[in-house]
């Protein structure tokens, strides 16, 4: 059965982060991802949602089902109009996974996903896309 989904959710409060996790989990399950793959994408979503809230000043996430022949899964696009990331490469280094600074979880989210894209401009905002499929 094909699940058609394309929903945009706000990320303005910590309860929203929980809702994003739940929505991601539901879709991952509906698309038939294995338990481990579900856990990975939901955890990545949690990291990025929190980034959007804590560092981006709040924003949105667009949750889409992927239903093409080669890819059956989901894609999440996080967007904020916050300060942006000055040095993306630095933010993506492993050293940030144990610290408490900006970009925490970015490299982790990348490792947990099949696809990862980031676009950020200082003073304008950040957009991060992750996708996972069966």
């Amino acid at each position: 059965m094909v699940t058609v989904k394309d929903e945009t959710m706000p990320i303005r409060t910590s309860e929203d982060v929980v809702r994003v996790r739940q929505a991601a989990r539901e879709l991952a399950m509906a698309q038939g991802l294995s338990l481990v793959d579900q856990t990975k994408i939901v955890t990545a979503a949690s990291e990025l949602a929190r980034n959007t809230l804590d560092h981006g000043g709040g924003g949105t996430v667009r949750i889409e089902a992927l239903n093409s022949e080669a890819r059956r899964g989901l894609r999440l696009t996080f967007e904020d109009h916050g300060p942006g990331i000055q040095d993306i490469n630095l933010a993506l280094t492993d050293g940030y996974t144990t610290g408490a600074g900006l970009g925490l979880g970015l490299s982790g989210a990348k490792r947990l996903s099949n696809e990862f894209e980031i676009f950020s401009r200082v003073g304008e905002g950040t957009r991060v896309m992750i996708a996972r499929w069966r």
Partner: protein, 290 residues
């Protein structure tokens, strides 16, 4: 109708939809390939109806109906992928699945002959369009079916895998996982996940992963092994890797894989001895055995 012209097929299908559907259903139900045991007539009728509508919609964006790989046909392709895949999962044969498309030819030709009577050039052109289109869609369906079969086989392999790599309880709290044969990335992942699951189920504090029976280990497999050990430790259990043969040891060092944090022993027996010691278990010889 010239090459770039607009086909009248979608308009005619719209006009004669109920007749066409009835004819097509008659063809499908009469076919020797019908699987009444696997699919109800009402469901087949609904799929047929949807397909005709999708064809009309695709044609509205691509009037000459000649390229099924274009975006105009995306909805139709997804629909066909879906029904082919589900037929593959249900156990239909490839022919039974392709019949869905090919059985539409005769009814469609009949309808075209009736509607375009008197205009033999137009009729010939439209029949050509129809046959070319249905052939392409039929082939697409066959390929989608094939992918569906591969999914089924993949899943069966997975299940077989889980059954064929049993985790052994050596003693209370001590598990052993003897790996045999070549390990590919996918297999290793499945095996490792089931080991972690077994650790939780049995509450075993120590798991021995024995790779005596594994001829070669590449970077990916080595990394999976290490990740498993790390995951087990996070959960509260320890892993010992045993049976590392000299060649594998060389490969591991060569690949730069860091085994510093992991206990490794060359034989399963040595690993078992360590496991016993850590579990504060001692084996003593009985004084008198009658």
């Amino acid at each position: 109708m010239n090459q770039k012209g607009k086909s009248r097929i979608p308009e005619l299908i719209s006009k004669r939809e109920s007749d066409l559907l009835a004819d097509w259903m008659r063809e499908q139900m009469a076919a020797t390939t019908l699987r009444g045991d696997l699919m109800k007539e009402s469901e087949l009728r609904e799929q047929s109806r949807q397909f005709l509508n999708l064809m009309i919609r695709a044609a509205s964006q691509q009037p000459n109906m000649d390229n099924i790989n274009a975006p105009a046909w995306e909805e139709t392709r997804e629909f066909l992928s879906g029904i082919s895949r589900s037929r593959a999962h249900q156990g239909f044969s490839p022919t039974e699945t392709a019949t869905f498309i090919f059985s539409l030819k005769q009814p469609l030709f009949s309808m075209l002959r009736q509607e375009l009577e008197g205009d033999s050039k137009r009729l010939a052109d439209e029949m050509w369009v129809a046959t070319a289109l249905l052939d392409k869609l039929g082939l697409f369906t066959a390929e989608a079916y094939q992918r569906g079969r591969e999914e089924v086989i993949g899943r069966q392999q997975q299940e077989l895998l889980e059954l064929s790599t049993p985790v052994v309880v050596l003693w209370e709290g001590i598990l052993a996982l003897p790996l045999i044969g070549t390990l590919d990335s996918a297999r290793t992942q499945v095996v490792m996940e089931s080991l972690l699951q077994k650790i939780v189920e049995t509450g075993a504090g120590i798991a021995i992963i024995d790779i005596t029976g594994v001829p070669t280990v590449d970077t990916l497999v080595a990394q999976h092994l290490l990740k498993t050990v790390a995951a087990a430790r996070l959960m509260g259990a320890d892993c010992i890797i045993s049976g590392i043969r000299p060649q594998i040891a060389q490969t591991i060092v060569h690949l730069g894989v860091n085994l510093a944090d992991v206990i490794t022993k060359s034989t399963l027996a040595d690993a078992f001895a360590i496991a016993l010691r850590r579990s504060r278990l001692v084996i003593t010889r009985a004084e008198n055995l009658s």
